[in-house]
Protein backbone atom coordinates (compact mmCIF):
# COMPACT_ATOMS: atom_id res chain seq x y z
CA UNK A 1 0.00 0.00 0.00
CA UNK A 2 2.80 2.43 0.89
CA UNK A 3 4.43 1.80 -2.47
CA UNK A 4 1.18 2.63 -4.24
CA UNK A 5 0.83 5.93 -2.40
CA UNK A 6 4.43 6.74 -3.28
CA UNK A 7 3.70 6.02 -6.90
CA UNK A 8 0.68 8.29 -6.97
CA UNK A 9 2.45 11.15 -5.22
CA UNK A 10 5.35 10.95 -7.63
CA UNK A 11 2.86 11.31 -10.45
CA UNK A 12 1.28 14.30 -8.78
CA UNK A 13 4.70 15.93 -8.40
CA UNK A 14 5.30 15.43 -12.07
CA UNK A 15 2.06 17.18 -12.79
CA UNK A 16 2.56 20.61 -14.13
CA UNK A 17 0.04 23.36 -13.99
CA UNK A 18 -0.36 24.94 -17.32
CA UNK A 19 -2.49 27.61 -18.79
CA UNK A 20 -4.36 26.40 -21.71
CA UNK A 21 -7.11 28.02 -23.58
CA UNK A 22 -9.69 25.38 -23.22
CA UNK A 23 -12.09 24.88 -26.03
CA UNK A 24 -9.95 27.13 -28.17
CA UNK A 25 -11.25 25.34 -31.17
CA UNK A 26 -14.90 25.61 -30.20
CA UNK A 27 -16.79 23.22 -32.44
CA UNK A 28 -19.08 25.03 -34.80
CA UNK A 29 -22.12 22.82 -34.34
CA UNK A 30 -22.35 23.26 -30.58
CA UNK A 31 -22.43 27.04 -30.40
CA UNK A 32 -25.89 28.43 -30.61
CA UNK A 33 -26.43 32.21 -30.67
CA UNK A 34 -22.81 32.97 -29.90
CA UNK A 35 -23.10 31.29 -26.52
CA UNK A 36 -20.33 28.90 -25.62
CA UNK A 37 -21.74 25.40 -25.63
CA UNK A 38 -20.33 21.98 -25.09
CA UNK A 39 -19.94 19.44 -27.82
CA UNK A 40 -20.82 16.26 -25.98
CA UNK A 41 -19.39 14.07 -28.73
CA UNK A 42 -16.00 15.67 -28.12
CA UNK A 43 -16.25 15.33 -24.34
CA UNK A 44 -17.21 11.70 -24.56
CA UNK A 45 -14.65 11.02 -27.24
CA UNK A 46 -11.98 12.70 -25.14
CA UNK A 47 -12.91 10.57 -22.18
CA UNK A 48 -13.12 7.16 -23.79
CA UNK A 49 -10.15 7.46 -26.13
CA UNK A 50 -6.51 7.47 -25.21
CA UNK A 51 -4.52 10.64 -24.47
CA UNK A 52 -0.88 11.63 -24.38
CA UNK A 53 -1.29 13.64 -21.18
CA UNK A 54 -3.35 12.97 -18.12
CA UNK A 55 -5.78 15.70 -17.08
CA UNK A 56 -6.34 15.74 -13.34
CA UNK A 57 -8.56 18.79 -12.94
CA UNK A 58 -9.21 22.19 -14.47
CA UNK A 59 -10.48 25.43 -12.97
CA UNK A 60 -10.95 29.05 -13.93
CA UNK A 61 -8.66 31.39 -12.04
CA UNK A 62 -9.38 34.94 -10.86
CA UNK A 63 -8.29 36.38 -14.22
CA UNK A 64 -10.87 34.30 -16.00
CA UNK A 65 -8.32 31.99 -17.53
CA UNK A 66 -8.89 28.30 -17.52
CA UNK A 67 -6.10 26.47 -15.77
CA UNK A 68 -5.66 22.79 -16.45
CA UNK A 69 -3.67 20.64 -14.11
CA UNK A 70 -2.30 17.66 -15.99
CA UNK A 71 0.51 15.17 -16.03
CA UNK A 72 2.87 15.19 -18.95
CA UNK A 73 3.58 11.73 -20.23
CA UNK A 74 6.46 10.57 -22.42
CA UNK A 75 5.90 10.67 -26.16
CA UNK A 76 7.89 8.09 -28.06
CA UNK A 77 7.64 7.49 -31.78
CA UNK A 78 9.55 6.09 -34.68
CA UNK A 79 9.35 7.47 -38.18
CA UNK A 80 11.61 7.43 -41.20
CA UNK A 81 14.56 5.82 -39.47
CA UNK A 82 14.60 8.09 -36.43
CA UNK A 83 13.17 7.97 -32.94
CA UNK A 84 11.34 10.80 -31.19
CA UNK A 85 11.56 11.02 -27.41
CA UNK A 86 9.89 13.95 -25.71
CA UNK A 87 7.21 14.86 -23.19
CA UNK A 88 3.64 15.58 -24.11
CA UNK A 89 4.04 19.07 -22.65
CA UNK A 90 6.09 20.01 -25.72
CA UNK A 91 2.88 19.73 -27.75
CA UNK A 92 0.84 21.98 -25.43
CA UNK A 93 -1.24 24.70 -27.01
CA UNK A 94 -0.79 23.31 -30.45
CA UNK A 95 3.02 23.44 -30.36
CA UNK A 96 4.97 21.27 -32.78
CA UNK A 97 8.26 19.45 -32.49
CA UNK A 98 10.68 19.64 -35.39
CA UNK A 99 13.07 16.86 -36.03
CA UNK A 100 15.06 17.19 -39.22
CA UNK A 101 12.66 17.64 -42.06
CA UNK A 102 9.81 16.10 -40.09
CA UNK A 103 7.37 18.10 -37.98
CA UNK A 104 5.53 16.24 -35.24
CA UNK A 105 2.24 17.50 -33.84
CA UNK A 106 -0.82 16.27 -31.95
CA UNK A 107 -4.24 16.32 -33.57
CA UNK A 108 -7.21 15.01 -31.54
CA UNK A 109 -4.72 13.46 -29.10
CA UNK A 110 -3.06 11.51 -31.91
CA UNK A 111 0.50 12.01 -33.02
CA UNK A 112 1.02 12.98 -36.64
CA UNK A 113 4.08 13.87 -38.62
CA UNK A 114 4.41 16.14 -41.63
CA UNK A 115 7.34 14.83 -43.58
CA UNK A 116 9.69 16.60 -45.96
CA UNK A 117 7.32 16.32 -48.90
CA UNK A 118 4.48 17.91 -46.94
CA UNK A 119 2.42 14.72 -46.47
CA UNK A 120 0.56 14.12 -43.20
CA UNK A 121 1.24 10.59 -41.95
CA UNK A 122 1.08 8.64 -38.68
CA UNK A 123 4.45 7.67 -37.23
CA UNK A 124 4.82 4.47 -35.28
CA UNK A 125 3.68 5.81 -31.92
CA UNK A 126 4.64 3.83 -28.84
CA UNK A 127 4.18 6.61 -26.30
CA UNK A 128 3.45 6.00 -22.65
CA UNK A 129 -0.13 7.21 -22.89
CA UNK A 130 -2.76 7.59 -20.20
CA UNK A 131 -3.94 4.03 -20.84
CA UNK A 132 -0.42 2.64 -20.56
CA UNK A 133 0.10 4.41 -17.22
CA UNK A 134 -3.21 3.13 -15.85
CA UNK A 135 -2.20 -0.34 -17.05
CA UNK A 136 1.06 0.00 -15.06
CA UNK A 137 -0.97 1.03 -12.01
CA UNK A 138 -3.14 -2.06 -12.34
CA UNK A 139 0.02 -4.19 -12.67
CA UNK A 140 1.40 -2.63 -9.48
CA UNK A 141 -1.83 -3.31 -7.57
CA UNK A 142 -2.01 -6.90 -8.84
CA UNK A 143 1.61 -7.61 -7.95
CA UNK A 144 1.25 -6.06 -4.49
CA UNK A 145 -1.91 -8.00 -3.74
CA UNK A 146 -1.06 -11.42 -5.09
CA UNK A 147 2.69 -11.59 -4.54
CA UNK A 148 2.15 -10.31 -1.01
CA UNK A 149 -0.50 -12.94 -0.49
CA UNK A 150 1.74 -15.68 -1.88
CA UNK A 151 4.51 -14.64 0.50
CA UNK A 152 2.30 -15.10 3.55
CA UNK A 153 1.96 -18.80 2.72
CA UNK A 154 5.63 -19.28 3.49
CA UNK A 155 4.93 -19.01 7.21
CA UNK A 156 1.76 -21.02 7.41
CA UNK A 157 -0.62 -22.83 5.13
CA UNK A 158 -3.54 -21.12 6.83
CA UNK A 159 -4.48 -18.04 4.81
CA UNK A 160 -4.54 -14.82 6.81
CA UNK A 161 -5.38 -11.26 5.80
CA UNK A 162 -4.44 -10.62 2.19
CA UNK A 163 -4.00 -14.33 1.55
CA UNK A 164 -7.57 -15.20 2.49
CA UNK A 165 -8.84 -12.65 -0.05
CA UNK A 166 -6.34 -13.79 -2.68
CA UNK A 167 -7.21 -17.43 -2.08
CA UNK A 168 -10.91 -16.75 -2.62
CA UNK A 169 -10.10 -14.91 -5.86
CA UNK A 170 -7.72 -17.62 -7.05
CA UNK A 171 -10.13 -20.46 -6.27
CA UNK A 172 -12.91 -18.65 -8.14
CA UNK A 173 -10.91 -18.73 -11.38
CA UNK A 174 -9.49 -22.20 -10.65
CA UNK A 175 -13.05 -23.52 -10.42
CA UNK A 176 -13.87 -22.00 -13.82
CA UNK A 177 -10.84 -23.73 -15.30
CA UNK A 178 -11.58 -27.05 -13.62
CA UNK A 179 -15.14 -26.97 -14.88
CA UNK A 180 -14.37 -26.00 -18.48
CA UNK A 181 -11.07 -27.77 -19.09
CA UNK A 182 -11.34 -30.66 -16.67
CA UNK A 183 -9.28 -31.23 -13.53
CA UNK A 184 -6.84 -33.45 -15.37
CA UNK A 185 -5.58 -30.74 -17.72
CA UNK A 186 -6.56 -27.44 -16.16
CA UNK A 187 -3.44 -26.86 -14.03
CA UNK A 188 -1.43 -25.78 -17.06
CA UNK A 189 -3.90 -23.04 -18.00
CA UNK A 190 -4.95 -21.75 -14.57
CA UNK A 191 -2.11 -19.15 -14.34
CA UNK A 192 -3.05 -17.72 -17.75
CA UNK A 193 -6.76 -17.53 -16.90
CA UNK A 194 -6.00 -16.00 -13.50
CA UNK A 195 -3.84 -13.29 -15.02
CA UNK A 196 -6.47 -12.67 -17.69
CA UNK A 197 -9.34 -12.36 -15.23
CA UNK A 198 -7.63 -10.04 -12.76
CA UNK A 199 -5.91 -7.92 -15.40
CA UNK A 200 -9.25 -7.25 -17.09
CA UNK A 201 -11.20 -6.84 -13.88
CA UNK A 202 -8.75 -4.45 -12.20
CA UNK A 203 -8.50 -2.35 -15.34
CA UNK A 204 -12.30 -2.25 -15.56
CA UNK A 205 -12.38 -1.02 -11.96
CA UNK A 206 -9.65 1.56 -12.50
CA UNK A 207 -11.61 2.81 -15.52
CA UNK A 208 -14.63 3.34 -13.28
CA UNK A 209 -12.81 5.46 -10.70
CA UNK A 210 -14.07 8.90 -11.73
CA UNK A 211 -10.92 10.85 -10.73
CA UNK A 212 -7.17 10.51 -10.97
CA UNK A 213 -5.61 7.92 -11.14
CA UNK A 214 -8.69 6.31 -12.62
CA UNK A 215 -10.94 7.51 -15.40
CA UNK A 216 -8.91 5.92 -18.15
CA UNK A 217 -10.64 3.56 -20.53
CA UNK A 218 -8.03 0.89 -21.10
CA UNK A 219 -10.28 -2.19 -21.05
CA UNK A 220 -12.66 -0.32 -23.37
CA UNK A 221 -9.87 0.21 -25.86
CA UNK A 222 -9.85 -2.13 -28.82
CA UNK A 223 -6.05 -2.31 -28.78
CA UNK A 224 -6.17 -3.81 -25.29
CA UNK A 225 -9.01 -6.25 -25.96
CA UNK A 226 -7.54 -7.30 -29.30
CA UNK A 227 -4.17 -8.36 -27.89
CA UNK A 228 -5.86 -10.34 -25.10
CA UNK A 229 -8.06 -12.04 -27.69
CA UNK A 230 -4.93 -12.84 -29.70
CA UNK A 231 -3.35 -14.42 -26.60
CA UNK A 232 -6.41 -16.59 -26.08
CA UNK A 233 -6.31 -17.53 -29.78
CA UNK A 234 -2.64 -18.52 -29.46
CA UNK A 235 -3.10 -20.45 -26.22
CA UNK A 236 -6.14 -22.24 -27.64
CA UNK A 237 -4.76 -23.27 -31.02
CA UNK A 238 -1.19 -23.99 -29.98
CA UNK A 239 -2.50 -26.49 -27.44
CA UNK A 240 -5.06 -28.07 -29.77
CA UNK A 241 -5.01 -31.85 -29.62
CA UNK A 242 -5.12 -34.10 -32.63
CA UNK A 243 -8.76 -34.82 -31.75
CA UNK A 244 -9.57 -31.08 -31.90
CA UNK A 245 -7.93 -30.52 -35.27
CA UNK A 246 -9.49 -33.66 -36.71
CA UNK A 247 -12.93 -32.47 -35.71
CA UNK A 248 -12.24 -29.01 -37.08
CA UNK A 249 -10.62 -29.91 -40.40
CA UNK A 250 -11.65 -33.47 -41.28
CA UNK A 251 -14.86 -34.14 -39.37
CA UNK A 252 -15.02 -37.93 -39.38
CA UNK A 253 -18.47 -39.30 -39.97
CA UNK A 254 -19.82 -36.26 -41.80
CA UNK A 255 -20.94 -36.70 -45.44
CA UNK A 256 -18.51 -35.23 -47.98
CA UNK A 257 -20.90 -32.59 -49.31
CA UNK A 258 -21.58 -31.37 -45.78
CA UNK A 259 -17.84 -31.17 -45.19
CA UNK A 260 -17.50 -28.71 -48.07
CA UNK A 261 -19.81 -26.36 -46.20
CA UNK A 262 -18.87 -27.15 -42.61
CA UNK A 263 -15.07 -27.14 -42.79
CA UNK A 264 -14.85 -23.51 -43.96
CA UNK A 265 -17.36 -22.55 -41.28
CA UNK A 266 -15.27 -24.30 -38.64
CA UNK A 267 -12.14 -22.53 -39.84
CA UNK A 268 -13.92 -19.18 -39.75
CA UNK A 269 -15.17 -20.04 -36.25
CA UNK A 270 -11.55 -20.37 -35.06
CA UNK A 271 -11.14 -16.68 -35.81
CA UNK A 272 -14.59 -15.41 -34.89
CA UNK A 273 -14.24 -16.79 -31.36
CA UNK A 274 -11.39 -14.43 -30.32
CA UNK A 275 -12.95 -11.71 -32.46
CA UNK A 276 -16.17 -11.83 -30.43
CA UNK A 277 -14.10 -11.80 -27.22
CA UNK A 278 -12.43 -8.62 -28.42
CA UNK A 279 -15.64 -6.88 -29.51
CA UNK A 280 -17.66 -7.92 -26.45
CA UNK A 281 -15.26 -6.52 -23.88
CA UNK A 282 -14.54 -3.38 -25.89
CA UNK A 283 -18.20 -2.61 -26.59
CA UNK A 284 -19.45 -3.31 -23.08
CA UNK A 285 -16.86 -1.24 -21.28
CA UNK A 286 -16.93 1.63 -23.76
CA UNK A 287 -20.73 1.57 -23.82
CA UNK A 288 -20.86 1.77 -20.05
CA UNK A 289 -18.53 4.76 -20.00
CA UNK A 290 -20.52 6.52 -22.72
CA UNK A 291 -23.81 6.02 -20.85
CA UNK A 292 -22.44 7.43 -17.59
CA UNK A 293 -20.89 10.51 -19.22
CA UNK A 294 -23.99 11.05 -21.34
CA UNK A 295 -26.24 11.03 -18.28
CA UNK A 296 -24.02 13.51 -16.45
CA UNK A 297 -23.76 15.61 -19.60
CA UNK A 298 -27.54 16.06 -19.59
CA UNK A 299 -27.04 18.66 -16.85
CA UNK A 300 -24.76 20.69 -19.10
CA UNK A 301 -26.87 20.26 -22.20
CA UNK A 302 -30.10 21.29 -20.49
CA UNK A 303 -28.33 23.94 -18.42
CA UNK A 304 -30.72 23.65 -15.52
CA UNK A 305 -30.31 22.58 -11.91
CA UNK A 306 -33.54 20.56 -12.20
CA UNK A 307 -31.64 17.95 -14.17
CA UNK A 308 -28.95 17.47 -11.50
CA UNK A 309 -30.88 15.09 -9.26
CA UNK A 310 -32.37 12.78 -11.91
CA UNK A 311 -29.24 12.60 -14.02
CA UNK A 312 -27.00 11.97 -11.01
CA UNK A 313 -29.38 9.31 -9.77
CA UNK A 314 -29.46 7.60 -13.15
CA UNK A 315 -25.70 7.89 -13.48
CA UNK A 316 -25.30 6.36 -10.02
CA UNK A 317 -27.52 3.44 -10.95
CA UNK A 318 -25.58 2.86 -14.16
CA UNK A 319 -22.35 3.21 -12.18
CA UNK A 320 -23.37 0.43 -9.81
CA UNK A 321 -24.39 -1.68 -12.80
CA UNK A 322 -21.01 -0.95 -14.37
CA UNK A 323 -19.26 -2.15 -11.22
CA UNK A 324 -21.10 -5.44 -11.61
CA UNK A 325 -20.46 -5.53 -15.37
CA UNK A 326 -16.78 -4.87 -14.75
CA UNK A 327 -16.53 -8.20 -12.93
CA UNK A 328 -19.03 -9.85 -15.24
CA UNK A 329 -17.14 -8.95 -18.42
CA UNK A 330 -13.87 -10.18 -16.93
CA UNK A 331 -15.70 -13.37 -15.94
CA UNK A 332 -17.19 -13.84 -19.42
CA UNK A 333 -13.85 -13.24 -21.14
CA UNK A 334 -12.16 -15.75 -18.82
CA UNK A 335 -14.98 -18.28 -18.96
CA UNK A 336 -15.09 -18.26 -22.76
CA UNK A 337 -11.30 -18.44 -22.97
CA UNK A 338 -11.42 -21.45 -20.65
CA UNK A 339 -14.23 -22.96 -22.72
CA UNK A 340 -12.26 -22.55 -25.99
CA UNK A 341 -9.13 -23.98 -24.36
CA UNK A 342 -11.25 -26.82 -22.98
CA UNK A 343 -12.56 -27.59 -26.47
CA UNK A 344 -9.05 -27.52 -27.89
CA UNK A 345 -7.34 -29.74 -25.31
CA UNK A 346 -10.17 -32.25 -25.15
CA UNK A 347 -8.84 -35.54 -26.49
CA UNK A 348 -12.21 -37.23 -26.83
CA UNK A 349 -12.09 -39.17 -23.56
CA UNK A 350 -13.37 -36.35 -21.42
CA UNK A 351 -17.01 -37.06 -22.19
CA UNK A 352 -16.75 -40.61 -20.97
CA UNK A 353 -15.13 -39.67 -17.70
CA UNK A 354 -17.30 -36.60 -17.09
Amino acid sequence: MRKLILLITSFLLMASTQNSQAQSEAPADSTAGGEEGINMTDVIGHHISDAHSWSIFAYTNSEGEEVECKISLPVMAYYDGQFLFTLSSSFDDGATVEKGVNTYYLKHEKLYVRNGSGEEVRPFDFSITRNVVSMFISVAILLLLFVGAARSYKNSLVPRGKASLAEMLVLFVKDIADEQIGRRKSARYVPYLLTLFYFIWFNNLIGLVPFFPGSSNLSGNIAFTSILAVFTFIVTNFNGTRHYWKHTLVMPGVPFLMKIILVPIEIITLFTRPFTLMIRLFANVTGGHIIIISLISMIFIMKTYVMVAPSMLLALMIFVLELIFGALQAYIFTLLSALYIGLAVDDGHEEQTA
Binding site: I48, F126, T129, N131, V132, P191, F199, L228
Partner: protein
Protein backbone atom coordinates in the same frame (compact mmCIF):
# COMPACT_ATOMS: atom_id res chain seq x y z
CA UNK B 1 -14.04 9.03 -31.94
CA UNK B 2 -13.19 7.90 -35.46
CA UNK B 3 -10.26 5.82 -34.28
CA UNK B 4 -12.30 3.92 -31.73
CA UNK B 5 -12.44 0.74 -33.79
CA UNK B 6 -8.90 0.80 -35.11
CA UNK B 7 -6.39 -0.48 -32.56
CA UNK B 8 -3.36 1.76 -31.98
CA UNK B 9 -0.28 -0.39 -32.62
CA UNK B 10 1.60 1.32 -29.80
CA UNK B 11 -1.03 0.43 -27.24
CA UNK B 12 -1.30 -3.09 -28.64
CA UNK B 13 2.41 -3.59 -28.07
CA UNK B 14 2.38 -2.06 -24.59
CA UNK B 15 -0.66 -4.15 -23.60
CA UNK B 16 0.84 -7.32 -24.97
CA UNK B 17 4.21 -6.74 -23.34
CA UNK B 18 2.70 -5.72 -20.03
CA UNK B 19 0.38 -8.69 -20.03
CA UNK B 20 3.19 -11.11 -20.81
CA UNK B 21 5.47 -9.69 -18.12
CA UNK B 22 2.61 -9.59 -15.60
CA UNK B 23 1.73 -13.17 -16.51
CA UNK B 24 5.30 -14.40 -16.03
CA UNK B 25 5.78 -12.47 -12.76
CA UNK B 26 2.45 -13.53 -11.27
CA UNK B 27 2.90 -17.12 -12.39
CA UNK B 28 6.29 -17.36 -10.71
CA UNK B 29 5.67 -15.29 -7.59
CA UNK B 30 1.93 -15.56 -6.99
CA UNK B 31 -0.11 -18.21 -8.79
CA UNK B 32 2.27 -21.12 -8.36
CA UNK B 33 2.98 -20.50 -4.65
CA UNK B 34 -0.72 -19.89 -3.91
CA UNK B 35 -1.97 -22.86 -5.92
CA UNK B 36 0.84 -24.97 -4.49
CA UNK B 37 -0.11 -23.98 -0.95
CA UNK B 38 -3.76 -24.74 -1.63
CA UNK B 39 -2.84 -28.12 -3.08
CA UNK B 40 -0.50 -28.88 -0.21
CA UNK B 41 -3.19 -27.97 2.30
CA UNK B 42 -5.75 -30.11 0.49
CA UNK B 43 -3.34 -33.06 0.58
CA UNK B 44 -2.62 -32.45 4.25
CA UNK B 45 -6.31 -32.37 5.15
CA UNK B 46 -6.93 -35.47 3.09
CA UNK B 47 -4.08 -37.40 4.71
CA UNK B 48 -5.13 -36.17 8.16
CA UNK B 49 -8.66 -37.41 7.57
CA UNK B 50 -7.32 -40.72 6.29
CA UNK B 51 -5.06 -41.20 9.30
CA UNK B 52 -7.91 -40.29 11.64
CA UNK B 53 -10.00 -42.96 9.97
CA UNK B 54 -7.12 -45.40 10.32
CA UNK B 55 -6.70 -44.58 14.00
CA UNK B 56 -10.41 -45.11 14.52
CA UNK B 57 -10.23 -48.52 12.85
CA UNK B 58 -7.17 -49.36 14.92
CA UNK B 59 -8.96 -48.35 18.11
CA UNK B 60 -11.95 -50.46 17.15
CA UNK B 61 -9.67 -53.43 16.52
CA UNK B 62 -7.98 -52.99 19.90
CA UNK B 63 -11.36 -52.69 21.54
CA UNK B 64 -12.47 -55.90 19.89
CA UNK B 65 -9.30 -57.71 20.95
CA UNK B 66 -9.80 -56.49 24.49
CA UNK B 67 -13.37 -57.78 24.59
CA UNK B 68 -12.24 -61.11 23.17
CA UNK B 69 -9.48 -61.41 25.72
CA UNK B 70 -11.91 -60.66 28.54
CA UNK B 71 -14.32 -63.26 27.24
CA UNK B 72 -11.53 -65.84 27.02
CA UNK B 73 -10.36 -65.07 30.53
CA UNK B 74 -13.87 -65.44 31.88
CA UNK B 75 -14.26 -68.75 30.10
CA UNK B 76 -10.98 -70.00 31.45
CA UNK B 77 -11.88 -68.94 34.97
CA UNK B 78 -15.20 -70.77 34.67
CA UNK B 79 -13.55 -73.93 33.42
CA UNK B 80 -10.92 -73.74 36.16
CA UNK B 81 -13.61 -73.41 38.78
CA UNK B 82 -15.54 -76.29 37.32
CA UNK B 83 -12.47 -78.46 37.24
CA UNK B 84 -11.64 -77.59 40.82
CA UNK B 85 -15.14 -78.49 41.89
CA UNK B 86 -14.89 -81.80 40.05
CA UNK B 87 -11.50 -82.53 41.59
CA UNK B 88 -12.83 -81.70 45.01
CA UNK B 89 -15.78 -84.04 44.55
CA UNK B 90 -13.53 -86.76 43.21
CA UNK B 91 -11.18 -86.43 46.18
CA UNK B 92 -14.06 -86.54 48.63
CA UNK B 93 -15.55 -89.51 46.82
CA UNK B 94 -12.22 -91.27 46.83
CA UNK B 95 -11.68 -90.56 50.50
CA UNK B 96 -15.14 -91.78 51.32
CA UNK B 97 -14.62 -94.94 49.32
CA UNK B 98 -11.22 -95.61 50.88
CA UNK B 99 -12.58 -94.98 54.35
CA UNK B 100 -15.49 -97.32 53.72
CA UNK B 101 -13.21 -100.02 52.40
CA UNK B 102 -10.90 -99.56 55.36
CA UNK B 103 -13.80 -99.69 57.74
CA UNK B 104 -15.21 -102.75 55.98
CA UNK B 105 -11.86 -104.41 56.07
CA UNK B 106 -11.41 -103.60 59.73
CA UNK B 107 -14.90 -104.86 60.40
CA UNK B 108 -14.34 -108.05 58.43
CA UNK B 109 -11.01 -108.57 60.16
CA UNK B 110 -12.64 -107.98 63.50
CA UNK B 111 -15.43 -110.41 62.63
CA UNK B 112 -12.96 -113.03 61.47
CA UNK B 113 -10.89 -112.48 64.61
CA UNK B 114 -13.98 -112.71 66.70
CA UNK B 115 -15.08 -115.92 64.93
CA UNK B 116 -11.64 -117.37 65.24
CA UNK B 117 -11.43 -116.41 68.90
CA UNK B 118 -14.88 -117.83 69.31
CA UNK B 119 -13.93 -121.09 67.62
CA UNK B 120 -10.73 -121.24 69.60
CA UNK B 121 -12.66 -120.51 72.75
CA UNK B 122 -15.14 -123.23 71.88
CA UNK B 123 -12.39 -125.71 71.19
CA UNK B 124 -10.65 -124.65 74.35
CA UNK B 125 -13.89 -124.82 76.25
CA UNK B 126 -14.63 -128.20 74.71
CA UNK B 127 -11.24 -129.46 75.83
CA UNK B 128 -11.65 -127.86 79.22
CA UNK B 129 -15.14 -129.24 79.53
CA UNK B 130 -13.93 -132.60 78.33
CA UNK B 131 -11.02 -132.53 80.75
CA UNK B 132 -13.33 -131.35 83.49
CA UNK B 133 -15.92 -133.82 82.53
CA UNK B 134 -13.30 -136.55 82.36
CA UNK B 135 -11.93 -135.43 85.65
CA UNK B 136 -15.38 -135.26 87.12
CA UNK B 137 -16.49 -138.44 85.41
CA UNK B 138 -13.20 -140.07 86.34
CA UNK B 139 -13.74 -139.10 89.80
CA UNK B 140 -17.36 -140.31 89.60
CA UNK B 141 -16.61 -143.39 87.53
CA UNK B 142 -13.50 -144.33 89.44
CA UNK B 143 -15.86 -145.52 91.76
CA UNK B 144 -18.30 -147.15 89.24
CA UNK B 145 -16.20 -148.25 86.20
CA UNK B 146 -13.28 -150.58 86.23
CA UNK B 147 -11.44 -149.66 83.19
CA UNK B 148 -10.73 -146.28 82.08
CA UNK B 149 -11.05 -147.04 78.39
CA UNK B 150 -14.53 -148.19 78.72
CA UNK B 151 -15.36 -145.14 80.55
CA UNK B 152 -13.65 -142.83 78.07
CA UNK B 153 -15.50 -144.34 75.12
CA UNK B 154 -18.68 -143.80 76.84
CA UNK B 155 -17.93 -140.19 77.67
CA UNK B 156 -16.87 -139.41 74.11
CA UNK B 157 -20.07 -140.85 72.86
CA UNK B 158 -22.01 -138.63 75.05
CA UNK B 159 -19.98 -135.57 74.24
CA UNK B 160 -20.48 -136.04 70.50
CA UNK B 161 -24.15 -136.46 71.03
CA UNK B 162 -24.44 -133.24 72.93
CA UNK B 163 -24.50 -130.13 70.74
CA UNK B 164 -23.00 -126.92 72.14
CA UNK B 165 -23.97 -124.72 69.43
Amino acid sequence: MDGLLSPEPGLVIWSGLTFLILFLLLRKFAWRPILGAIKEREDKIESALASAEEAKAEYRKVQEAKAQMAAEARQERDSLLKEARLTKEAIIEEARKTAKEEADKILADAKAQINKEKADAIVDLKQQVAKLSVDIAGKILSQTLQTDSQQEKLIEKYLNESNFN
